[in-house]
Amino acid sequence: MLSTAFKFIKYDKSKSIGVIIGIVISIFLIGQQIGILGFLTGLMGGIIENSNTDVGQIWVVDNITQNANELAKLDERIVQEIRSIEGVENTYAVIATGGIVKFKDGKTAPVTLIGSESPVFAGGPNPKKIVNGNINDLNLDGAISAETLDESIFNNSVALNTRVEINGKEAFIRLQTKNARSFAGTIFYTTLSKARYFGNYPDTKVNAVAVKVKNGYTINEVVENINSKIYGVKAWNAKELKEKTIAFITVSSNIGTSFGTLIVFAIISGFFIIGLTLYSSALDRIRDYGTLKAIGATNGYVRNLILLQSFIFAIIGFTIALLLIIGFKTGVAAAGLIITYSPIELFSFFLITVFISVGGSFFAIKKINNVEPASVFRG
């Protein structure tokens, strides 16, 4: 049957190409949109994602914050207060402040400065994202980190030891990160004191407190302890704050609706393009299917023959779409747009392909099921 299905596909070249193009366009669009959405959600949760979550298992922020990119100021004394709560191993102040970076050629750009206490650097950068330099080098005078993927934004090199100015104060890039970015923009990591200095940030304030949980306690237990004992703040499991931030931005900015609509329309349009093309192809071959039935093929055989053709279309279309998606991913990576697809996402793309292709054959199968074998005797 496989060979017969291939012959049917090969014979009707124009329609077969039409179906494959339909699948490729549909799956490429879905893959592209999901990839960009994944990139954006990665940025949304970047402040937490890029922090040292081995240390900052819990983030304590003000009690109205739902977005880690917009942290309100807290009294600095709360860092000590939280340290006294049962189950807390240690606490680390984190501040996030804005600044303007100026390069040697005079070009400027807004940046977010994340400062946290040395040597732990609970606020980040995550050691896994350091590509050049040593994290302890952030203790040097005027030391900051810079993001390699932001070179295109700055239109300037961020090589180690590059001298820049932040808010008019001299700074040196001593550490390079890769893909440690946030939705709010470019991040420079540094120590707590230097972040205060560069950002003119008050000594009595912090934006968040990263909490390490004592052995023998669960994160959720300690979160509950903090929330029940300290008024005006909210403790979050770091992972939950990241997820909440992503959900909050996705909903409030309508990014989710926008991308979701595009993806749904790509599926629907793919389904109907493929469905109608397969239907039209089945109409062209209706005499052949009728003949098969007349000579003894059952409806099940003919249905399987059509399903097999649509499955072959799905495999060919998915393979081409996957190559295009990989090409797109590689192309945009050069521009700093890092898109990653998990095996589950790729498998989901394949399932969507099979769904729209095999589902699209429903119309054709319905038509062919109704063809009477007797019809072949009518000339």
């Binding site: 017969t4 012959k7 052949d288 000579i295 003894g296 093929a297 005797f377």
Partner: protein, 232 residues
């Protein structure tokens, strides 16, 4: 002679709204081994309905149809398909070869449907094509063959499963005179190899090939020709 297929008081009516169309009046006739039976009649006389009943592609409204001692009334679609596949070979007016498949693959189809291996199907299909002297063109697609050649491939497809009954619906209607003779001679030879061959036609010139003739007129089938038919 052994009866391969029979219709017994079988009639066929179609309903279109309130109108009932009688396509075939109650008919009784047998189709026997080693016989080429012509079913002759003008267009719309009911001869294709009779052939469709024999081909198990429609059920009679009344009466019975028996193929190889198996009554087909009441069989499901799957069982009917099996009866067709195992016992009947079809030759159609418009050849009805599967356009995407070459001659050999067309002839292999019924065998593959029967569950034979690809290798065995190929061997038997090649043999069948040799019988109709089409072995040289077996790798050609139907569109590359003449009408007569396509019909010979169709005959090979019909006989490859060695069916007891071969039903031919106007097999010469789309052929030139030379091809008509070739195809009818093929069918005549087949009828001498233990098969029953039924040929529907309105071409009275084919009478010379027939062992027996069934005349169908206004839905009535009879072995006795009308006065007008007897004159031809």
């Amino acid at each position: 002679m052994e009866v391969v297929a029979s219709v017994s008081n079988a009639s066929k009516q179609y309903k279109t709204g309130d109108t009932v169309i009688i396509a075939l009046q109650p008919t009784t006739c047998d189709f026997r081994k080693n016989e080429l039976t012509l079913i002759i009649g003008p267009s719309g006389s009911g001869k294709t309905t009779l052939l469709s009943l024999l081909g198990c592609v429609i059920f009679p409204t009344e009466g019975e149809v028996t193929i190889c001692n198996q009554k087909i009334n009441g069989l499901g679609q799957k069982e009917l398909a099996k009866v067709r596949l195992q016992n009947i070979g079809f030759v159609f007016q418009s050849f009805n070869l599967l356009a995407p498949l070459n001659g050999l693959e067309n002839v292999m189809q019924p065998l593959l449907l029967l569950g034979r291996s690809k290798k065995e199907a190929k061997e038997l299909a090649e043999e069948a094509l040799k019988k109709v002297t089409m072995q040289d063109r077996m790798y050609n697609l139907p569109k590359m063959l003449s009408g007569g050649q396509q019909q010979r491939v169709a005959i090979a497809r019909a006989l490859v499963t060695n069916p007891s009954l071969m039903l031919c619906d106007e097999p010469t209607a789309a052929l030139d005179i030379k091809s008509v003779a070739i195809v009818m001679e093929e069918l005549k030879i087949l009828s001498t190899t233990g098969k029953s061959v039924a040929v529907v036609t309105h071409d009275l010139r084919l009478k010379q090939f027939a062992d027996r003739i069934i005349y169908v007129n206004n839905g009535v089938a009879s072995e006795t020709p009308s006065e007008e038919e007897a004159l031809h």
